[in-house]
Symmetry: C2
Subunit: 237 residues, 2 copies
């Protein structure tokens, strides 16, 4: 059965067919695509359209392309979406306003997350949070390690709703936001402050107090932003 009409671009048909083969598993995940010259025979199309199709699939995140290597098949997941958005998002982060908007949205989401955690975290979530916090504490002297455990702690919050969209959002936030500054202005003293902030968040969650949890998280992230803002002399809000 053919995919669709014959109108429009020929490359779109190839895209659709390859798409189908990827989602159906006929083209296995993490395996290289056939050679371009083989695909053109397989689909009865010129290399021009095969290459265009490959380009489109790449930008849709269904395959990964390295400059001179065979494209690697990648079954779509939520992380793929974020990865695909990355290029576009980048344009919106060129000025302070864009970064602030993204950061504010993160604060907004995480406030809701900790509230959710405080009101309905399961036992295993609590365990994960405790473990993450402990890892966090132990890493205070090592800023690189602390950064990792810091991200991990917040990551636990994103996993509590059991909805894969949230961890994907977390990945987005950390990859688009953090590199801007997070790594460069760390010290054991700052780590200590952040650890204590995490601890107070967890404490509020343990108390099953959504209001306190939300406030603790809000304080934590607002303070972090304030620190960055002052350090980089970004002027008023």
């Amino acid at each position: 059965m053919d995919i669709g009409n014959e109108t429009g671009r020929a490359a779109d048909n190839v895209v659709a067919m390859l798409e189908a083969k990827i989602v159906s598993g006929e083209l296995e995940d993490q395996t290289p695509l056939p050679a371009e010259r083989e695909l053109m025979e397989q689909f009865g199309a010129s290399r021009t359209v095969i290459r265009e199709a490959i380009s489109k699939l790449s930008s849709r995140g269904l395959i990964e392309t390295k400059p001179r290597f065979r494209p690697i098949v990648r079954k779509p997941d939520y992380a793929t979406v974020l990865h695909a958005c990355g290029n576009v998002v980048q344009h919106l982060l060129t000025d302070k306003t864009g970064i602030k908007n993204l950061y504010d949205s993160r604060v907004f989401i995480e406030r809701a997350l900790v509230r959710e955690a405080a009101s309905s975290a399961r036992k295993e979530d609590i365990v994960s949070l405790r473990e993450a916090l402990e890892e966090n504490r132990k890493a205070i002297p090592d800023s690189n390690e602390f950064y990792r455990t810091d991200v991990a702690f917040h990551g636990v919050l994103y996993r509590i709703p059991r909805n894969p969209i949230f961890p994907a959002m977390h990945e987005g936030y950390t990859s688009w936001l953090a590199p801007q500054w997070d790594r460069m202005l760390r010290s054991p003293e700052r780590n200590e402050v952040n650890y204590l902030a995490h601890k107070s968040i967890l404490d509020a969650i343990l108390e099953r107090d959504p209001v306190a949890a939300e406030e603790a998280l809000n304080n934590h992230l607002k303070a972090a932003w304030e620190f960055v803002r002052v350090t980089f002399d970004w002027g008023d809000e």
Copy 2:
């Protein structure tokens, strides 16, 4: 100053240069790109790489391409990001689980939004909400019109944080989620139910009662989901 190194694909350089011309405004928003044969002269590249560059820019949302027409320049904004993600997201909505995840994330966000509205909506927000609700009420007999005002009412909620990311998310939700069913199972009776749900949400916001507002919204969206689920016989949760 040149953009980057000479390694990798030649098309990437063209992409970068065109990108720069778009964000700088040298290529005006909403105007057509120069002809391909002109661009190849301008950049000293073959048509192959020009076309590849155009394809990449298109998938990044920086230009809009119709099959046989000149690409139209589009300055990147938050809506662009969503638009670019659309193609990828589509793959995650093929099964019930994907749709449910997206819907749940929407519920999660909107719960936080109405809470925010109840605790810190400004006067003009209240006015907008009242107006949107009134429009909603007047549209009860006309299902198509009701759909529009329904979306608009929720849209007001997304604009309250004054963060353009949220309206963009709203667009994403409505464009990815609604077409699945929203239009097909409407009736003046259902419209009435939904209108009343909106009204109770606004009432709670007017009372400055975040808990009630959140609960009202939760009931509203859960009921809507339940209705769809039963109608389509999607089995248990």
